[in-house]
């Protein structure tokens, strides 16, 4: 065998599905296969209620699938205890939410530092790491501002810095531009492009086709059924 070695899989769904018990039971995600290799940029699109957030919750270990196996960095997450899954989440997954989820009484840098509280990061150097992460997203000059004094785009940058600071294997973004105007959204998408260029593995969930096309791969969810379009060149 020759050629470039295939990069290891970060996310590997093998027949993963989730049915909310109800009543009535809702098959929010039908069993599906999906593999995301390190450094890939995947977008997930679908109309409202199609199962995008369900997909994100499983991928982010916030919810356990009712069917199939999910390997994260080669670890079978189904065999893990709740505590171990939580630990894995804190170390290997960075979340970016539509509504930012910043703590209003803490400065940008303190919000970023929150991502290092639970995953055994030594206290020393946390501030420096947080400032570096803010610099990475272009917000070094606003590090000490409270979120209430930041624009929407700046808030989302803080949230991205928080997601990056623990050096996760996977960055999961749920509608990262949903609360932003077009111009600001464009700058956030550029930032995501840069992160991708730096080798970060990205999964971005959106209902916006404009955003979806930024991904190198796009999968569509419709009524819980996940399907991948093969792009023409």
């Amino acid at each position: 065998m020759t050629g470039t070695p295939t990069p290891p899989l970060v996310m590997d769904f093998r027949g993963v599905g989730l049915t909310y018990p109800g009543p009535p039971p809702v098959a929010a995600l039908k069993p599906c296969r999906l593999a995301v290799a390190r450094g890939e940029y995947l977008t997930v699109v679908g109309p409202s209620g199609s199962g995008k957030s369900t997909f994100l919750n499983i991928a982010g270990l916030l919810d356990a699938p009712t069917e199939g196996q999910y390997f994260l960095d080669g670890i079978d997450t189904a065999t893990l205890s709740d505590a171990d899954r939580t630990g894995l989440r804190g170390r290997r997954i960075g979340f970016v939410f539509q509504s930012f989820h910043l703590l209003p009484h803490r400065s940008a840098v303190e919000n970023v530092m929150l991502a290092m509280v639970y995953n055994s990061t030594t206290r020393r150097g946390r501030t420096e790491r947080a400032r570096e992460a803010l610099e990475r997203v272009g917000l070094a000059h606003r590090a000490d501002a409270l979120p209430t004094r930041l624009s929407g785009g700046e808030r989302q940058r803080v949230a991205i810095a928080r997601a990056l600071v623990a050096r996760p294997s996977l960055l999961l973004c749920d509608e990262p531009t949903g609360n932003l105007d077009t111009a600001t959204a464009g700058s956030i998408l550029e930032l995501l492009d840069e992160l991708h260029a730096d080798g970060m593995t990205l999964v971005v969930i959106t209902h916006d086709p404009e955003v979806a096309v930024r991904g190198r791969r796009t999968v569509t969810i419709r009524d819980g059924v996940l399907s991948e379009q093969v792009r023409s060149a």
Binding site: S53, L62, G74, I75, T79, G87, R91, Y118, S120, T122
Partner: protein, 422 residues
């Protein structure tokens, strides 16, 4: 090694690749301190109930301790060995100037357990009867208005005097109604009496009294130090007996433990036919005194303190519960960042505990200030047991933690996926 409060490191050999989340003690403390300090006004109001409860608790205990120690210090051996007899003169005192018989001292001193006893009364002086060191008009001595006390020989002895010079008068002076006087050291200073060797005299009006003793201090009847004390026979000879309104009293010094016994028999010994002429003041019973201090009122206040604490706990519980609901998003975020349910629990417990402890500390200070203020107003020594001061903030802390149990449990039950949906 950092302090790891929660979560053990998995064995290195375990093939999970997953390290459990942990929350270092310092992180827990700084996270919960931030939670409390970020809303200072709300935290202060929340802690108010605990402040009141713990404050009342400290104040009641402190005031009780202060009062009992005051009683203990006042009720020493001296008061326990002192009986005072007042002359009421019976039903018609205007016809009986002095109910004490002439041999009152001897009659009482015959009783078992009596050390010394004596009769005394204040002498009523005319406006011209100033006390001087020289006769009026001689040497221009100004003279001062000073009390003159007529006393039988036993009075000065019963008062346990410390003489700086000379002696007290005795039965001989009393029998002969000698013009002698014993004066206090302060008065002697003011009158310029420095030595008794020259047999100096003091003048009350134009009457001279030879000073035979200067008293530096007495254990009882401190007013004697500011008086000219003369034998009662002398006083009777010059000014007559006690007047109505300024009736005679008897001071009895007893052996330890004999006072109550003597108090019950002294009136009969003084006048077997008319014991009703005398009102006997026995020393106070320390047990009954202390009993009145730790009274029902005290228990009422303790109950009040307990109610305040319960209200404080309910206040903290309520605010923490509201905070949990308000901060659902934050809880979801923390879970997404790797917090386990128990990390959320301990954080909210620490926050409510901190509120309780804060209320406890402020309450302890306020309670202490109250006790000190009350003591100062009454000229007492404030006493608060160290145990009270140490225990009170802990009571606040426990109140806060107990109040936080339910909200913290609720917080840990919030599912991260649900919490992040908002």
């Amino acid at each position: 090694m950092r302090t790891s409060l929660i979560g053990r490191r998995r064995d290195a050999g375990r093939n999970s690749g997953a390290d459990r989340s942990r929350l270092a003690l310092r992180d827990l403390l700084s996270e919960s301190a931030a939670g409390v300090l970020q809303r200072p006004a709300r935290s202060a109001l929340t802690a108010l109930g605990t402040v009141l409860g713990v404050g009342t608790f400290v104040a009641v205990l402190g005031l009780t301790a202060t009062t009992s120690s005051q009683i203990d210090s006042r009720f020493n051996a001296l008061t326990a060995t002192e009986v005072t007899v007042e002359d009421t003169g019976g039903a018609q005192p205007e016809f009986l100037a002095n109910a004490f018989p002439a041999d009152a001292d001897r009659r009482v001193e015959r009783l078992h357990g009596v050390r010394r006893a004596g009769v005394y009364w204040p002498v009523r002086l005319g406006p011209e009867d100033l006390v001087r060191s020289a006769p009026p008009g001689v040497g221009g001595a100004q003279g001062e208005r000073t009390a003159v006390v007529a006393a039988s020989p036993g009075v000065l002895d019963a008062a346990d005097p410390v003489l700086s010079q000379g002696r007290t008068f005795d039965a001989y002076h009393d029998r002969r109604a000698e013009s002698v006087a014993v004066i206090g050291a302060g008065l002697a200073d003011r009158l310029g009496v420095t030595t008794l060797e020259t047999a100096p005299a003091v003048f009350v009006g134009d009457r001279a009294f030879t000073v035979i003793g200067i008293v530096a201090d007495v254990e009882r009847r401190a007013d004697l130090l500011q008086s000219v004390v003369v034998p009662r026979t002398t006083a009777e000879r010059i000014w007559g007996g006690p007047r109505s309104g300024e009736r005679a009293k008897m001071l009895i010094a007893t052996e330890l433990g004999a006072a109550r016994q003597i108090a019950s028999g002294v009136a009969l010994a003084l006048d077997p036919a008319h014991p009703e002429y005398f009102k006997v003041v026995p020393p106070p019973d320390p047990r009954s005194l202390r009993a009145t201090v730790t009274s029902d009122l005290d228990q009422l206040f303790m109950l009040l303190a307990a109610i305040c604490l319960v209200i404080g706990a309910v206040g903290i519980a309520n605010t923490t519960l509201v905070a949990v609901l308000e901060r659902t998003g934050e809880i979801g975020l923390r879970r997404a960042l790797g917090a386990r349910g128990r990390h959320i629990t301990v954080q909210f417990l620490a926050e409510s505990g901190a509120l309780g402890a804060l209320g406890g500390l402020v309450g302890t200070s306020l309670g202490t200030v109250t006790v000190v203020a009350m003591a100062v107003v009454r000229d007492w020594t404030p006493v608060i047991h160290p145990v009270t001061v140490l225990a009170a903030p802990v009571v606040g802390l426990v109140t806060g933690v107990v109040a936080g149990l339910y909200p913290a449990w609720r917080a840990s039950r919030i599912q991260p996926a649900e919490a992040l949906r908002r």
